[in-house]
């Protein structure tokens, strides 16, 4: 493959809105993570009315729903407040970031609670709304500390190592950072959410590069929420406010964008079997309509266009060259194959 060339082929959509009930399906998911054995873990944030369903659901790429863990809202070891992101470390431990509890909770890949750490504050090792997490090759983790406008670096079990950032829009400064990605050279990429850009740092926080600016054009961003890196160093960005995903090359040049093309998941297909009246009228519906000018923002368009991403909050890659895009508002994730 020539450098810079890249295609994303739509594979499938997995998910269904489960309305907070038990069983398969998701409720306002905010992140996915793939375990060593290829299982897909989905983090459900939920609203207050469905807070009992704040948990991690587990499924396969073949759409088998394997179960879930987590015990809803609360302060117990297996409970959560406002979950925001998660990542597996090299030992297949799953670390879940909770911006409401200012806490990181660690589980093994069977969903068994291992440990928790973190507390609110502005000091070293303390958090004010932690959001994103990623691990480097040494096993250390980077956490975006949203309202402290900084990145903090820790050992896997929470020992503080260093920090950087500070509120602002100069190079190296941050404004409510969200997702984090780490490339194969342990460079750290931060979705500098309210500055509409991606910043690249060394593992000690030295600023290396900035990609993007505010806008809707190619290579521009609106509130990017997540970033992921493939083995070639291509940069995948959840361009949350523009309701799309963009891919940049390692130098930050625009490669491509996708707007989403969701189809009916197996679980949704089962729903339609039980609701044949909806299927009949769906056949004559136009689910990608041309909208009146008043609904011309990406957000409004996505609210009325079922196949498009709506709230594409997270991008994650697995070892099989697949891209997972999690959509908070549609209770599903779309899978693409990278070629």
């Amino acid at each position: 493959m020539a450098p810079g060339s890249l295609t994303l082929s739509y594979v499938k959509t997995i998910g269904i809105c489960n309305n907070g009930l038990n069983g398969r399906g998701f409720t306002n998911p905010v992140d996915t993570a793939v375990s060593r054995d290829g299982r897909i873990f989905v983090l459900n944030r939920c609203d207050q009315a469905r807070a009992e369903a704040i948990r991690v659901g587990i499924c396969t790429i073949g759409e088998d729903y394997l179960g879930e863990f987590g015990d809803g809202v609360g302060d117990g070891d297996t409970q959560f407040r406002l979950v925001a992101g998660m990542a597996f470390d090299s030992e297949d431990r799953l670390h879940i970031v909770d911006e409401g509890a200012n806490r990181i909770t660690v589980f093994n890949s069977q969903g068994v609670f291992l440990s928790k750490w973190g507390s609110p504050g502005i000091g070293d090792g303390e958090f004010n709304g932690p959001s994103g997490i990623a691990f480097d090759s040494c096993g250390d983790c980077y956490i975006s500390d949203q309202h402290n406008n900084r990145i903090q670096k820790f050992t896997w079990n929470g020992e503080f190592l260093t920090k950087w950032g500070g509120l602002g829009d100069d190079s190296g400064q941050l404004n409510m950072p969200w997702g984090i990605g780490v490339d194969q050279d342990d460079k750290v990429y931060v979705a500098d959410w309210r500055n509409d850009r991606i910043q690249k740092f060394s593992s000690n926080g030295e600023h290396i590069a900035t990609f993007g600016e505010t806008g809707q054009s190619d290579g521009q961003f609106s509130r990017p929420s997540a970033v992921a890196l493939d083995a070639r160093g291509n940069i995948y960005v959840a361009d949350w406010g523009n309701e799309r995903v963009q891919v940049l090359d390692p130098q930050g040049n625009f490669l491509l964008k996708i707007r989403g093309e969701a189809t009916i998941s197996e679980w949704a297909a089962d729903f339609f079997v039980a609701n044949p009246d909806e299927v009949e009228v769906r056949k004559i519906a136009n689910l990608t309509p041309v909208l009146p000018p008043r609904f011309d923002t990406p957000y409004q368009i996505s609210s009325q266009t079922e196949p498009y991403f709506w709230g594409p909050v997270s991008v994650k890659l697995d070892g099989e060259g697949r891209l997972y895009v999690t959509e908070t508002n549609r209770h599903r994730f779309q899978v693409y194959q990278i070629d």
């Binding site: 509130r223 729903f271 309509p289 609904f295 009325q304 549609r330």
Partner: protein, 471 residues
């Protein structure tokens, strides 16, 4: 600027907005009354809590699947807006063109309707009616999706005339039928799918899909119609033109605006103002902004007669108190409860009881609602750590280098709560309450100190007064 100016400005802001803090009042007073009226009518500061920050925090307000999230979202806007009349006029039209969630199962479309009110609510009445007739939530709410060329449904046509523009007695049953015929074909895009989804509340596979207007010419009755004495091959736009130029519409709009912004009851003097407002309606080409300008600049509105002549609706009570206290300036899960509080007081945003909206005025107050109103306001203003209450305490401590006597602190509190007027009985009771524990010394205090706690208690008592229930 004297006390009289301050009182008048406070009165204007209670009506054109949700009240004003003492700091906001000072800014408005610098500007002057008429210039303030203009700035309210032509809002240029669109600052409010940013939607992206809300949506990052509140997933339910991002998806807007259900009405409680949508109501909370609107609450944020009202709490933090720097253009209060924009929100107030949206509230006015929501009360008048009352559209409810129960039949829709589609909260986003309701919020889209509110946004339409923001954009058109101060503009031309005919434009507003046109947008209303194209509004997806209204179309489902009043069944215009079932209004077909070969089988009309009169629901929207009837309410357009009776509740939304002219009022009963100004048209015939035949006019209603002709009106309905003219609006055939005005429906939703994908109407079969969307109407079916609105009719049930099952777990849709990927959540809800918002609605947009769709016109079906093949389902429109293009035949000749006679409406209010005029004959032609009318479509909906023509009907709205005929409605808008009718005296009855001018009176209807002027009267409802008067009752919302000036006084619950219209006396003879008020009637003269309504006449002037009707003149403005025609002179301006049906512009709502001009009608309101005439009202706000009238001697009647500025006189003592209009002061405290309206019972605050629950939303005014809740939002006004929160804006004074300074709470909910950042996303907070408690905002859903704020929306619920207005519901407990009798006004659930986006869930009006019927298409007639709420029964307003004195009917807002019954014993149950009064307890809710008083408890809510008292709890908010007791929060001495919130920025609004802190600003009041800070001003008290800066202005006085000595401990405040009961008379001094009561007068200061009334003034700093947005220049509130209370009767002598209320004032005496407040002073007596403070006197029980003596002077209040606010020098070098911090939140939680006894003297600050006493200020919070006094503010709560003022919020519990009968006068605080009035706008």
């Amino acid at each position: 600027m004297g006390l009289r100016d301050t009182k008048l400005m406070a009165h204007l802001l209670r009506r054109a907005g949700f009240g004003a803090t003492h700091i906001e009042l000072e800014d408005y007073l610098q500007k002057g009354y008429e210039a303030t009226v203009e700035s309210l009518l032509y809002p240029t500061d669109s600052d409010h809590m940013p939607e992206d920050i809300i949506r990052r925090y509140h997933v339910d307000q991002s998806e807007l699947r259900q009405y409680d999230a949508a109501a909370a979202n609107w609450m944020y806007r009202m709490i933090t807006s720097k253009s209060p009349l924009e929100e107030k006029i949206a509230l006015f039209w929501h009360s008048l063109f009352a559209t409810g969630y129960s039949k829709l199962n589609q909260a986003r479309s309701l919020l889209n309707q509110i946004d339409m009110f923001r954009q058109n609510g101060l503009g031309r009445f005919d434009t507003l009616l046109l947008e209303l007739s194209r509004d997806p939530a209204m179309i489902i709410w009043l069944d215009n999706d079932q209004n077909h060329r070969d089988a009309i449904n009169e629901n929207y046509g009837r309410e357009l005339l009776e509740l939304f523009s002219m009022g009963i007695g100004n048209y015939t049953e035949e006019d209603i039928k002709e009106c309905a015929r003219a609006f055939t074909g005005w429906t939703l895009g994908n109407v079969e799918y969307m109407a079916m989804r609105a009719s049930k509340d099952s777990i849709w596979p990927y959540g809800r899909i918002a609605w947009h207007f769709g016109y079906r010419p093949e389902d429109h009755d293009d035949g000749e119609k006679t409406f209010l004495g005029e004959t032609g091959n009318f479509n909906g736009e023509d009907i709205i033109d005929i409605i808008s130029k009718n005296d009855a519409s001018a009176r209807f709009v002027a009267t409802r605006l008067f009752q919302f912004f000036a006084a619950d009851e219209i006396d003879d003097e008020g009637e003269k103002v309504v006449e002037k407002m009707m003149e403005s309606y025609f002179e301006s080409g049906y512009e709502i902004r001009s009608i309101i300008r005439t009202l706000f600049n009238s001697d009647y509105f500025k006189s003592g007669k209009a002061r405290y002549a309206r019972v605050k609706c629950p939303v005014e009570q809740v939002i006004g108190t929160i804006r004074l206290a300074g709470s909910y300036q950042k996303p907070d899960l408690g905002v859903n409860e704020v929306a619920s509080q207005a519901f407990y007081m009798g006004q659930g945003l986006l869930i009006p009881p019927t298409v007639e909206g709420w029964h307003e005025g004195a009917e807002w107050i019954d014993s149950g609602a009064l307890v809710e109103r008083v408890n809510f306001a008292a709890n908010e203003l007791r929060k001495t750590k919130e920025s609004g209450v802190r600003s009041i305490i800070d001003r008290m401590s800066v202005q006085n280098g000595h401990a405040l006597t009961p008379n001094e602190i009561v007068d200061l509190s009334l003034d700093l709560l947005g220049s509130v007027d209370v009767g002598e009985n209320t004032r005496t009771a407040l002073v007596q309450h403070v006197r029980e524990k003596g002077d209040v010394d606010l020098r070098n205090t911090s939140p939680g100190d006894e003297s600050e706690r006493r200020v919070g208690e006094l503010l709560s008592l003022i919020a519990s007064s009968p006068e605080f229930q009035m706008a």
